[in-house]
């Protein structure tokens, strides 16, 4: 069964005071995320990631289309017992301490007071909030609030969690810790749906990604599928290459780019049209020695840029006025 399903999910806002015009925040998003998947929702600013998550949490209502979580329509309270959500730039009651906030949320799930305390303490340990947990949240820094936000999303051992930019505002150590948290969730069989524009996070964590641009789905699939077929050539690192040999290789289009690494070592880019065996044979035949060879793949970054460039930027609906 799909953990999350959206069907032509669409959200239009009306913008402009005097002559409101529809503005496409999300258009016809159809997605399905299986149970146990770590799914990344990627896209540049304003792509519609937060809009998607808010629709799934029923913080906003769709203009058309529908969405289900764990087979239930969004908004169902019994379903909500089984999910967790970290909002973008989370903000909580600033008069509560971190501990009290988590206990308050735990209370909404009906846990007994002792159980509330146990869960709050364990999660605050997990996200690295120490003695500060007894301080009011008004004194918390952005990164600390983000950590509290992650902890509150996990208060009920959810089966599906939604993170809106979980890494935002965190220092490098914090990012690593949160990656650990997500990996642990995956091991437990929890479905994770998160949004990000940090591609390395997606590369490190996701089984599949969706790429949104200007409110529309620009691509969805396994990361390796989205990226692998885009192999662009090979990168050879060679030593002992002299200038004449390099010049010859460039002239014969064997090598399209070279980066000197010093001491006659070079990183060379060999195009797809040349077989790597021939390139190695020719270069070693001229006295060079092979240090390493790697396929040159398009990175997610490149893919991202290309998809975004290709996507339509017009976000009005063409009302014909």
């Amino acid at each position: 069964m799909a953990a999350i399903r959206t069907e032509a999910l669409t959200k239009h806002y009306r913008v402009g005071f005097w002559r409101p015009r529809p503005y496409v925040a999300l258009e016809g998003l159809t997605l399905s995320v299986s149970e146990g998947e770590v799914f990344g929702c990627l896209g540049p600013n304003g792509a519609g990631k937060t809009t998607t998550l808010k629709l799934l949490m029923q913080l906003i209502y769709p203009t058309s289309g529908s969405a289900e979580i764990l087979g239930q329509p969004v908004g169902d309270v019994r379903m909500k017992r089984r999910i967790g959500y970290l909002p973008e730039n989370p903000y909580f009651y600033d008069y509560l301490t971190a501990e009290e906030l988590l206990q308050y949320f735990a209370g909404l799930f009906g846990y007994a007071p002792a159980e509330r305390r146990r869960r709050a303490a364990a999660l605050l340990d997990q996200v690295g909030i120490g003695a500060e947990r007894r301080m009011q949240l008004r004194t918390f820094s952005k990164g600390m609030l983000q950590r509290v936000g992650i902890a509150q999303a996990l208060i009920n051992d959810p089966e599906v969690v939604f993170f809106d930019e979980p890494m935002s505002g965190l220092d490098p150590l914090g990012r690593r810790e949160i990656r650990q948290v997500i990996l642990q969730l995956r091991e437990r069989g929890c479905t994770v749906f998160f949004s990000s524009h940090v591609l390395s996070d997606a590369e490190a964590l996701c089984s599949r990604v969706a790429i949104l641009a200007s409110g529309r789905l620009a691509g969805v699939g396994r990361l390796t599928d989205l990226v692998a077929f885009q192999a662009r050539g090979w990168e050879l690192v060679v030593g002992g290459l002299d200038d004449a040999a390099l010049a010859h290789a460039k002239m014969t289009q064997l090598v399209v780019r070279d980066t000197p690494l010093g001491d006659r070592r070079y990183a060379l880019e060999v195009p797809l049209s040349v077989s790597p065996e021939r390139a190695i044979a020719e270069l070693t035949g001229r006295g060079a020695s092979l240090v390493s060879i790697n396929p040159l793949r398009e990175t997610l970054e490149d893919y991202f840029v290309r998809q975004v460039a290709a996507a339509p930027h017009e976000r009005g609906l063409g009302t014909g006025t």
Binding site: L59, I60, V77, P90, F92, Y93, L108, F109, Q152
Partner: protein, 268 residues
């Protein structure tokens, strides 16, 4: 129900930490100070002044608390987006609204209870400051429990004001909500005049309009029996019951309205 109670307790906690309850200390200090002064200055029957002053102060402090907490209650959560994580928990939107309302009502009731205690304590002290002879000319004893009827209706009135403030705060900014709530409160005190409007105008339409407004706008003047209790005039129990019922019905309509509006809206 459990969820509503849980939210309500949190609202109460917030108001305590927001130092709202400290306004009570100010109230008590004011009252005691004034009582002491009056005790020094006057020779006799002026325990009535304390009663007038005390009841008016309870109503006014309560009104300020009801409006200023009420207008921010829902709006603040939406504006600061603390509602995002809350509504992803197993709570329905109407439970959120009712929990907020119950929490503020609890805060108000606790506030009024403490103020009432302080009020009676001052009156008991005043009682010891006067001779038997001067006490005998008072219309009612200093610590007349009959005044609790007026305080009871003040509580109902405050619960109504809270519901109005909460209703507005589900869709408008605090400033606008405060304006609208105070506006209704003022109009609501002159409401009775609308009823007699037809006697002064010629136009039938204007008279019907005034009639309609009379029924739609809250009639706050009905809750004010301070003068009667201070002067020990009779107040029929049926009047108390009817006025309370009127308040509760009005509150129910407002809460239903607040829930309907709040359940449909998008959080930006």
């Amino acid at each position: 129900m459990r969820v509503i109670g849980h939210v309500a307790v949190n609202v109460f906690k917030e108001s305590v930490r927001d130092k709202v309850l400290y306004s009570l200390v100010a109230f008590a200090a004011l009252l005691i100070g004034v009582a002491y002064l009056i005790g020094q200055l006057t020779a006799g029957q002026d325990v009535k002044i304390i009663k007038d002053l005390g009841l008016a102060a309870i109503a006014t402090f309560g009104l300020l608390i009801a409006v200023f907490i009420g207008i921010g209650l829902v709006w603040k959560e939406v504006d600061r987006r603390s509602i995002y994580s809350l509504l992803s928990k197993p709570i329905r939107r109407h439970e959120f609204i009712l929990g907020k309302y119950a929490g503020l009502s609890l805060t108000l009731i606790v506030n009024v209870a403490i103020m009432t205690l302080a009020f009676y304590a001052v009156l008991a002290y005043m009682n010891t400051q006067f001779s038997e002879a001067s006490r005998s000319v008072w219309p009612a004893p200093a610590t007349d429990p009959g005044m609790l009827r007026a305080i009871g209706l003040i509580v109902v009135e405050l619960l109504l004001v809270t519901a109005i403030a909460l209703f507005f705060s589900t869709f408008s900014s605090p400033l606008l909500s405060a304006g609208l709530t105070f506006g209704l409160w003022v109009i609501g005190h002159f409401n009775a005049d609308l009823r007699n409007f037809e006697a002064v105008v010629e136009s039938k339409t204007a008279a019907y309009l005034a009639r309609g407004l009379y029924y739609v706008l809250p009639n706050f003047a009905a809750f004010d029996i301070k003068t009667q209790v201070v002067n020990a005039l009779p107040v029929a129990p049926s009047y108390l019951a009817a006025t309370t019922a009127y308040g509760l019905v009005y509150i129910s309509f407002l809460l239903v309205g607040a829930v309907v509006i709040f359940s449909r809206r998008d959080f930006k």
